[in-house]
């Protein structure tokens, strides 16, 4: 066995099936029953206990997702990669993700080779959730390749040694609790796969809809809010998601001495809550949750409130050069500190974990005040590996340390080995496939050596290397999924880095995907050939 290094500081862990990412093909109640049995495999061999709390604040949140799903480990459809889990820790730590495209079997079937036992995979993934890495012992539960599961499964010795090294063996004075069965009724209870025969008083099962919506009844008085979950963090009442706001390393249960959930008085709104203005921050938030343009939660009233600072407004009329968010091409697109920045004319949009920031598009110079006051547009923007932000305008490079222009800048493009005759760059990016930086202009591109500060001597080369994107691109960048996206006109291509060509010859409309605009407005009928 292999211990990764991180472990839980307590043994009474909580778990939950995600309220939003449940299996599409499985009954959630049976799924929870299987997950409880999988956790019980580890409970039987160690001092660990697992309590289902039906909350996204649980230590181990189990979710089902397809393809790209909010982390750097996209699923691949049916077969091959089945699931993954994160090692112990706060935030995403401990969470287990299952590929919703798999044919999951709730009951082991010897004669069905196509299906995959959810119990077997869950038991393996929970090993990661508890701090175990992969084992090279064939037959061990933590062996990385799927081996199926047998009836009356008992944790193999290799895994038992691993879990007991971290959390100690099970004490002798306890007995095993009965593995609970879940029933789809309102009297369904949260359950404890505990080492004692004592059962705690459990709160009734409350559907997600009832539990989570309208935490602000004064704002949404007609939603029938009934506070049922104690607010453990009254000073953080507004937030809707643990990963963004639970900044404490303290285990939530430490403030909840007995684990019975009781309705409590709703805490009044905090007086310490401050909106995120003034807008310019000392550091960008570093991406608690990637932005998914079509994420329905963008319209969720529970999303954090970013009030507009009306005093900063200098005009109420729309300038003529202000681009239409849902009907425009882009001058540059860049991922900076985990947020998407899209530039057009002298404006830019900022798209963070919760979608597009309100009040945008906003003048670029309000973010980077050292840029020319008469700025009309930028040509290319990218975040360098040293986190400095490079902004190309015409024949000049402006280099910023966050918001501050570095001494000696702007510098001419020729200072970096680019031809003196070059009027501008079209795009610049750090290519995720190899970590190198590339500049694009017209029909040519250059590889830029960040250490030497110059383009490599055997460049430029023809853009034909990047099959499918043509010449004179508008922008290119690497998104959080590790994929490369080229932009031209009002559309974009997703690029296959391994095959060095676009995945689809036909463009996708940018506004629909990146700005979350309605399809009709983004001009889909016009075609993107």
């Amino acid at each position: 066995f292999a211990v990764q290094g991180e472990k839980w500081k307590y043994t009474n862990l909580t778990w939950s099936l995600s309220s939003t990412r449940r299996p599409s093909q499985l009954d959630p109640y049976e799924t929870r029953s299987v997950l409880a049995r999988a956790l019980n495999v580890w409970a039987q061999a160690s001092r660990l206990t697992f309590t289902e709390i039906n909350s996204d604040e649980a230590d181990i949140v189990v979710s089902f997702a397809k393809r790209y799903h909010d982390d750097a480990y996209p699923f691949d459809g049916r077969g091959a990669i089945l699931a993954h889990a994160f090692f112990p820790g706060t935030g995403r730590g401990g969470d287990a993700h299952f590929d919703d495209d798999e044919l999951w079997l709730l009951q082991p079937r010897d004669d069905d080779e196509e299906g995959t036992s959810l119990f077997a995979v869950a038991a393996h993934e929970f090993g990661h959730s508890l701090g175990l890495s992969h084992s090279s012992v064939k037959g061990a539960l933590m062996f990385p390749w799927y081996q199926g599961i047998q009836q009356n499964f008992v944790l193999p010795e290799d895994d038992r040694n691993g879990i007991q090294q971290m959390y100690g063996p099970k004490t002798d004075t306890t007995q095993w609790g009965k593995v609970p069965q879940f029933r789809p009724t309102t009297t369904t209870t949260t359950t404890t796969t505990t080492t004692t025969t004592t059962t705690t008083t459990r709160r009734p099962y409350i559907p997600y809809h009832d539990r989570h919506h309208n935490r602000h009844p004064e704002q949404y008085p007609n939603r029938g809010y009934t506070p049922r979950i104690p607010n453990r963090y009254p000073e953080r009442h507004y937030p809707d998601h643990r990963r963004h706001y639970n900044t404490s390393d303290e285990h939530p249960r430490r403030t909840n001495h007995h684990h019975t959930y009781r309705p409590t008085e709703r805490t009044t709104h905090p007086t310490t809550y401050r909106p995120r203005y003034p807008y310019v921050q000392p550091e960008y938030p570093s991406n608690p949750r990637p932005h998914y343009p079509n994420d329905p939660r963008q319209d969720n009233p529970r999303k954090p409130y970013y009030p507009e600072k009306t005093t900063q407004r200098t005009t109420t009329t729309t300038p003529s050069d202000k681009p239409d968010t849902c009907d425009t091409s882009y001058d540059a697109v860049a991922l900076i500190r985990g947020e998407l920045f899209i530039f057009k004319n002298r404006y830019h949009w900022r798209i963070g974990a919760h979608g597009r920031y309100p009040g945008y598009p906003m003048e670029i110079t309000r973010m980077w005040a050292s840029l020319p006051k008469d700025l009309t547009h930028v040509d290319a923007v990218y975040e360098r590996p040293d986190r400095k932000i490079a902004i190309f305008i015409g024949k000049q490079l402006y280099l910023f340390d966050l918001l501050n222009l570095l001494p000696g800048y702007p510098k001419p493009l020729s200072a970096f080995g680019l031809p003196a005759s070059l009027e501008k760059l079209d795009a610049a990016m750090v290519w995720g496939h190899n970590g190198n930086t590339y500049f694009y202009s017209g029909s040519m591109y250059w590889k830029y050596d960040e250490e030497k500060g110059r383009v490599d001597y055997d460049y430029p080369r023809n853009m034909a290397m990047w099959k499918g994107v043509g010449y004179n691109i508008d922008s290119v960048f690497q998104w959080k999924d590790g994929k490369t996206y080229f932009f031209k006109g009002k559309g974009f291509w997703k690029f296959n880095d391994l095959h060095m060509r676009v995945e689809n010859d036909k463009q996708y409309p940018s506004a629909t995907f990146w700005m979350g605009c309605a399809t009709e407005r983004s001009g889909r009928r016009a075609g993107y050939k």
Binding site: G79, I81, T90, G91, G93, H134, S286, H433, D456
Partner: protein, 95 residues
């Protein structure tokens, strides 16, 4: 000039080895001249990675992409790397 073309099996194997932590990611772009100088070094790394995979997967250690290795790479498995690097993504902390 470009480096010698690799077989589809090699490309697929390299991707697999990178995904599951046997090879470090970050190989230069197709046709990168710099790679030419390190071709031998790269081949050695690749063979070592294949051997490590074979050892981990409990199949004969040959250093070649043989049938057993191809079969191993097609098997259903966990998405976590077998050889963990220090990776913030796996140890994300609440701020």
């Amino acid at each position: 000039r470009s480096r010698p073309t690799r077989s589809a099996h090699e490309k697929s194997a390299r991707n697999y080895l990178e995904t599951f932590g046997y090879l470090k990611k970050g190989r230069p772009e197709v046709g990168n001249l710099q790679l030419m100088n390190h071709e031998q070094e790269y081949e050695d790394e690749f063979r070592i990675a294949i051997k490590t995979l074979q050892e981990f997967g409990a199949i004969p250690v040959t250093g070649e992409i043989d049938k057993a290795t191809l079969a191993l790479m097609k098997q259903k498995r966990c998405g976590r790397p077998d050889r963990e690097e220090d990776d913030d993504e796996h140890r994300r902390k609440k701020r």
